[in-house]
Symmetry: C2
Subunit: 342 residues, 2 copies
C-alpha cells in the first residue's frame, strides 16, 4: 500500500503548545476569544509543523462541509442543449465560492436513476448547498431537492422550493432590445427563430419579441416565427424555411447565437448577404459571435455574473438568510456587422 505522510492532529499541536485541543480549535474558529499570546503561539507552531485541520472531522462534528454541489447533465444523448457558456459559469462560480471558503463538488445527473439521487448525494456528503445548471431537460431528480431544506440555486430554470431560487438573464428585455435595434436600423419584416417553447429562455425571448413588435406597432406575422432547438443546425433549417416564404423577412432575431450562425450560413448559401439582404441578431454573445464574418450582433449575457450571483445566493441561504429573490441579470446589446445600417 502506498505510503501516506501522516499529518499532525489537533491534539498533537495542542501538546506542543502546552494547551488543550479546545483552545487550538478556538484559535482557528473563534480567534477573538483566545488570548493574543496563546493565539500567536498556536498559529506559529501550526505553521511550523504544517498542521492542517481535517475537513472530514470538521464536517462530522459541525455538519457543515463547506462544499456546494454542482449538478449539470452530462448526457448528450438525451434531448437538451449544451449550456452556451458552461465554462464561464463554472469559472465564475468556482471563483466566487473559493473566496468565501467553499468548494465545488460535481454531481452526476441522476447517478442511479432514482428521483432522489441528488438529495441522497447531498445528505451523504453533508453538502451545504447545490447549484443546478439548466440544459433544457426536465430532470425529475431536481424536485425532491428543491422541496427539501437544502439551499438550491438554479440557473435559467425557475424552480419552486422554500430554499430554492434562481438566476437568469433578462430574456424578455434582451429580446425586446434586439427587435428595437433591428427596427431602428430600418428593418420592418422582422422574423424570429425561437428556442424550444418548453424552456424558459426560449419562451421568454419569444415573449419579448412579440411584446416589442406590438410596442412598435408592427404586425405579428405568425409565419415569421419558427421554432429551433438552440443548436446550429436548427437555425440553418429555420432560416431556409424563412427564405422560402413568399414574403421573406429582412431581419431575423435568433434566440441563440448558435442558431444565428446557422441562419447566417443559410443566408450565405442562398446567395444573399448579411446585413445587406438580411440583418441578424443573436443572443448569448458566445465567443464565436465576434469571429464569424461579418460579426454577429447579439445580446450579451453577463456570463461571469451567473456564477457570482449563484454563489452569492447559495451562500446567503447557507448562512441562514432569507431565500433571495430570483436574480434577473441585465443583458447588453453588442452591435457588430450583421446589423450594419444599409
Amino acid at each position: 500500500m502506498r505510503y501516506r505522510t501522516p499529518v499532525a492532529t489537533i491534539r498533537e499541536l495542542a501538546r506542543l503548545c502546552g494547551v488543550s485541543s479546545a483552545t487550538v480549535s478556538r484559535v482557528f474558529n473563534n480567534p477573538e476569544v483566545v488570548n493574543a499570546q496563546t493565539r500567536e503561539l498556536v498559529l506559529s507552531t501550526a505553521a511550523r509543523i504544517g498542521y492542517l485541520p481535517n475537513e472530514s472531522a470538521r464536517t462530522l462534528a459541525t455538519k457543515r462541509s463547506h462544499m456546494v454541489g454542482l449538478i449539470w447533465d452530462t448526457d448528450h444523448r438525451r434531448p437538451g442543449w449544451r449550456h452556451p457558456f458552461f465554462q464561464e459559469i463554472l469559472i465564475g462560480l468556482k471563483t466566487a465560492l473559493s473566496e468565501r471558503g467553499y468548494h465545488l463538488l460535481m454531481l452526476a445527473t441522476s447517478e442511479d436513476g432514482t428521483p432522489d439521487s441528488f438529495l441522497r448525494a447531498v445528505r451523504r456528503h453533508n453538502l451545504d448547498g447545490v447549484v443546478f445548471i439548466d440544459n433544457g431537460r426536465a430532470d425529475p431528480s431536481l424536485q425532491p431537492l428543491a422541496a427539501s431544506e437544502v439551499p438550491c440555486v438554479s440557473l435559467d430554470r425557475p424552480v419552486q422550493g422554500p430554499w430554492t431560487t434562481y438566476v437568469t438573464s433578462d430574456n424578455v428585455g434582451g429580446a425586446r432590445e434586439a427587435v428595437r435595434h433591428l427596427h431602428a436600423t430600418g428593418r420592418r419584416a422582422i422574423a424570429t427563430i425561437t428556442g424550444p417553447s418548453r424552456t424558459r429562455p426560449g419562451a421568454e425571448r419569444l415573449r419579448g419579441y412579440l411584446d416589442e413588435l406590438a410596442a412598435l406597432g408592427l404586425a405579428h406575422r405568425p409565419e415569421l416565427v419558427v421554432e429551433g432547438d438552440f443548436y446550429l443546425s436548427s437555425g440553418h433549417a429555420a432560416m431556409r424555411a424563412l427564405l422560402a416564404l413568399e414574403e421573406p423577412p429582412d431581419a431575423v432575431f435568433a434566440a441563440g447565437d448558435e442558431m444565428a450562425i446557422g441562419a447566417l450560413r443559410a443566408v450565405t448559401e442562398a446567395g444573399l448577404k448579411v446585413p445587406e439582404d438580411i440583418a441578424l441578431v443573436g443572443f448569448d454573445d458566445i465567443e464565436l459571435a465576434a469571429l464569424v464574418p461579418p460579426g454577429l450582433t447579439t445580446l450579451a449575457q453577463d456570463k461571469a455574473g451567473f456564477g457570482t450571483a449563484a454563489a452569492a445566493a447559495v451562500i446567503t441561504m447557507i448562512n441562514g438568510g432569507v431565500t433571495p429573490l430570483p436574480r434577473i441579470l441585465p443583458t447588453s446589446l453588442v452591435v457588430r456587422g450583421s446589423t450594419r445600417q444599409i
Copy 2:
C-alpha cells in the same frame, strides 16, 4: 437556523435490526462475510428508513474520501490558453469516475499563492487523487503535489513523480499525418504555425512536422515555421506573415484549430481561397472546425478518451497498483474542405 432533516445513523439502523453497528457496517462494506438473512434484513430496513452512510465519518475512519481533485487554472489574465476541449474532458472524467464511485472536487489554482496549496487542499480533504489539466502555464504548485505520495494524473503535460503519470495525444504522429496528407494532395511548400515551444503539444507537433518533411524528402525552409500561442489571433497574424513571404507556402499545418481558423480568415482577407490557393490542416477537431466554411481538415483528438484514461490511471494508483505508464492517445485525420484535392 434552517431545519435539517435528521438522517438515521448506523447505530439506529442496527438497533432496528437487532444487530450491532459493526454488522451493519459489514453489510455495506463486506457483504460476503455476513449471513445472507441478516444482510437482507439490514438492506431492506436501510431502504425503508432511508439510511445513508455519512461520507465524512467514513472518510475520517478510513482516510479514503472517494474524491478526486481537479486542478484547472481559471485565471485567464495570465498567459496560457483555454484547453480546447475542457468540457469534454470534464464529462469523460466525471462519467468514468462516477462509475467507480468517485466524485470530483474542483480545486482553485494556487488558491492562496503558496507553492504547496494543492497539496494542502488534498491533505485537508483526504483526496484520494488529483487530475491536472494543462493550460500552458507552469504552475509551481504542481511540483510539491507530484513529488508527494498523492496519485496524480496530468493531461498534456509530462510531470515527474513516483505516483504521477500523464495522458496526452500522439502529437508527433498526428503532425506527421497532417504533413503527409498535405503532401498527398499535391502540396509541396508546407508551412506550419506552431504552439508555444515551451508547451509539450507545441513542441511535439513541430517535431512531427519536421520529421515528416525529412521523411518525405522535402526541404525544411525555416521561414515557413511561425510560432503562435494557440489562440485565433496568433494564427491570423502568422498567416499574414507567411503570405507576405517572397515564396509563400501552398499549404499550412496549424498546431491548433483556433489558429487554423485565424489563418483561414487571413487567407480570405488577402483575397485568396482555401483550398485552391492554400490548403489548411488544424489540430484538435474543435466543434467549430466542421462549421467554418469550407470545413477544416484536422487531427481529431480522442476527447472523451482523455477523461476516461485519466480516471483509469488515477484509480489504478489509488488502489495501490503500479504507476501506469504515460498514455498516448491516437489521433485521427478528419478530412474536410480545407484540403480538397485541386
